[in-house]
Subunit: 274 residues, 2 copies
Amino acid sequence: MPEKLTDISRLCIHSMTTKPSSLIESIEAYSSAGIAGITVWREFLDELGVKESAARLADSDLEVVSLCRGGFFPAVDASGREAALDENRRAIEQAATIGAPMVVLVCGAIPGQALTESRKQIQDALGTLLPEAQAAGVKLAIEPLHPMYADDRSAVNTLGQANDMVEALAHPNVGIAADVYHLWWDPNLEAEIQRAGDSILAFHVSDWNTPTLNLMNDRALMGHGCINIPEIRGWVESVGFDGPIEVEIFSNRHWASDQIEYLEQIKTAYLNYV
Amino acid sequence: MPEKLTDISRLCIHSMTTKPSSLIESIEAYSSAGIAGITVWREFLDELGVKESAARLADSDLEVVSLCRGGFFPAVDASGREAALDENRRAIEQAATIGAPMVVLVCGAIPGQALTESRKQIQDALGTLLPEAQAAGVKLAIEPLHPMYADDRSAVNTLGQANDMVEALAHPNVGIAADVYHLWWDPNLEAEIQRAGDSILAFHVSDWNTPTLNLMNDRALMGHGCINIPEIRGWVESVGFDGPIEVEIFSNRHWASDQIEYLEQIKTAYLNYV
């Protein structure tokens, strides 16, 4: 087990974690709560536009950790795949504008299309985009998603598959976003984290509710589920990761609660169960 | 792809697929519909008792394919694990009584207990039970469950893990129940089916809905989801499996429908999409 976290200097929160709050409200609330970083979901840029959002972020003390999310590369035809590339070009440009060092990728899948074909399309898209991301000074972080999202969200479902893709692409601007919610069950997780090494660009935490009532929006606060988060943090830190620890919780339950009180619950959970 | 199925001579249905029907109702309905086999879930034995249920099954033309389900071996203390062994002894005895050649195992997991520890407890339990199952003329089929059930249903979440366990146990009465719903996403599936070879004792089919509204009870009829079932059937048949093809669908939607019409839908789906 790693050393216990004794302060919140590495704590980052995804704007989607406090979905009811606007970007401006979250900037103010996170700052007031002493939180170090923010990962911005793209839809939160809509209210003020990208430039004004960037200015507000720059005026705050918050570190902009990532832009979420690019990806969704597979499509049944070439025009669909071209449209996906263009959408990801916009995401890369937005990331550069708000000062986010990476775009997190939910890589995509098409129900009924072979996962092998979707992975090929994902890898091809990344091959096209990586030089452009490099020119923009932005990294692309492949996030392996839990196998329960293999139908329409991602054909990359294990850290091993993400490692395969990173190795095949062999580009300095590609890496991995490791999320305990997606990866905790994998018997090869420790070995694949060792293999990933400094490809791990981001570390996301939340917890797994028993029972889980909804495939998308029933994640738990850290410590309220069955995931041994400190063990996994120990593994990613053992390969050198010392970056922000990002709280990414989609939860109808928590979104219905007071979002300022919720930030205090997140801080307590972070200090005790991460 | 394997040869298309042109008749329903291998079609077996799980009594849980038609949950609103009693065992007697299902025996009559399946027989009338020309279905070849039935897998009996243990709770369906309660109405008449095991002996009378066995007599009714014997009087029918249905092949008794499996008893579902044993397992749930892990527990936080030794007395819990002993109780699980006793419960599985009852399942083995019930299987022998109704003429089921195997008990299908949902192996179990305890939220918060390390999956490695749960797997050790599962393997220990199987080591104890296999000689007893052999004496009773019953096989035990480990069913790897989808990773979304790793919290409290099974610490065995890939066919690779089931193969590891079968190899470690090295007993003629242990094998694997391969269910497309649990396994379809696995990039190693074809290779692990090759590795499993004649350890595959059972083959379960259903389909994956997009979106899936409920982690437990929103499976789809074959052909109504994203799983390439014929491809997977081809793989299991390429290693010699030629046994019953079992339709196991948990679905609040289908349970709310007319169960006699539903059997006809199952037959059509079976002939077109398996």
